[in-house]
Symmetry: C2
Subunit: 158 residues, 2 copies
Amino acid sequence: MQNVFAPHDHANCTHSALTTVERACAERGLRLTPIRKRTLEILLEGHHALGAYDVLQKLSDDGLADKPPMAYRALNFLVEHGFAHRVERLNAYIACTHPDADHTPALWICLDCHKVAETVQAAELGQRLGQEGGFSINTLTIEAEGSCQQCRDESSND
Amino acid sequence: MQNVFAPHDHANCTHSALTTVERACAERGLRLTPIRKRTLEILLEGHHALGAYDVLQKLSDDGLADKPPMAYRALNFLVEHGFAHRVERLNAYIACTHPDADHTPALWICLDCHKVAETVQAAELGQRLGQEGGFSINTLTIEAEGSCQQCRDESSND
DNA sequence: CTATAAATGTTATGTTATAACATATCAATA
DNA sequence: TATTGATATGTTATAACATAACATTTATAG
Ligand SMILES: [Zn+2]
Ligand SMILES: [Zn+2]
Ligand SMILES: [Zn+2]
Ligand SMILES: [Zn+2]
């Protein structure tokens, strides 16, 4: 999925992410337990970032988990293996939209529709920046807040 | 100051930042009140990020402030006007090392010495990334965790 | 089977941040 | 210089985010 801000077949979006993650877990010997799978499904419900306690509430509604550590463990599992991303600016989490690739995403947070998109072209860019000062990058966070094309188009149609 | 990871005349570092901020406040009609000034001085004590409650403790030691909102207000003032930066990855704050320039910094967090450096060459880079998807950037966060040249040099001298 | 590791369940608490409202101080101007 | 409106500070309370520590259960390998 390229542009989550634009209208798209989100059922397909969800389904392909889920099957990709299931395959990746099988290949890598990771256990996509019920809590973990449901947590991913919850994040996949939309392209909005959810806080850990939002996720926990939904897990609790499903009778799967009802204590903060349970949600954090599932979210951390997904993040560690690249199936979800933490949005630092929002203290929140999104499902990854290309969970097959080993990647460092740049995140685009629309302040209008509140969707969060990601692009993967950002990593080498950071590496270049860092080399200037001899800094060796372990992890790189790139997040932008602003407005997506769709929201700007809509607001100009007033 | 370019490379805060390397040994440098930090007294000068502190002094020049403080006088630059004082001048900027005078020019822009901003009030660098005692709490705000002391908060800046606290951040300037080193190139380490401090949490709001660390700052609050120091303000409290000085009898200047003793409730969370006081520290957050002072920190927010400094951040809003570009005199300090919030480090999203650390939920913490650093004094800006070039408070004269209107800038979007990239932050370099050394996991070894825990110093945080900033560079200003990053903004246009983000703009370029964003334009690809038609995203209009309001604020941009670029933060890297890793190891600085000095720390890597030292650890290879074992 | 059983030993081991991994995951989950649970309690408690730590950490970060803000809403809401009261009071004081500053700065412009009548 | 008194009024006043804006800005900053003081205060209470609570919201929101996150993890330490330990017990129990479940999965997997030998
Ligand atoms: Zn979708
Ligand atoms: Zn949008
Ligand atoms: Zn310095
Ligand atoms: Zn270092």
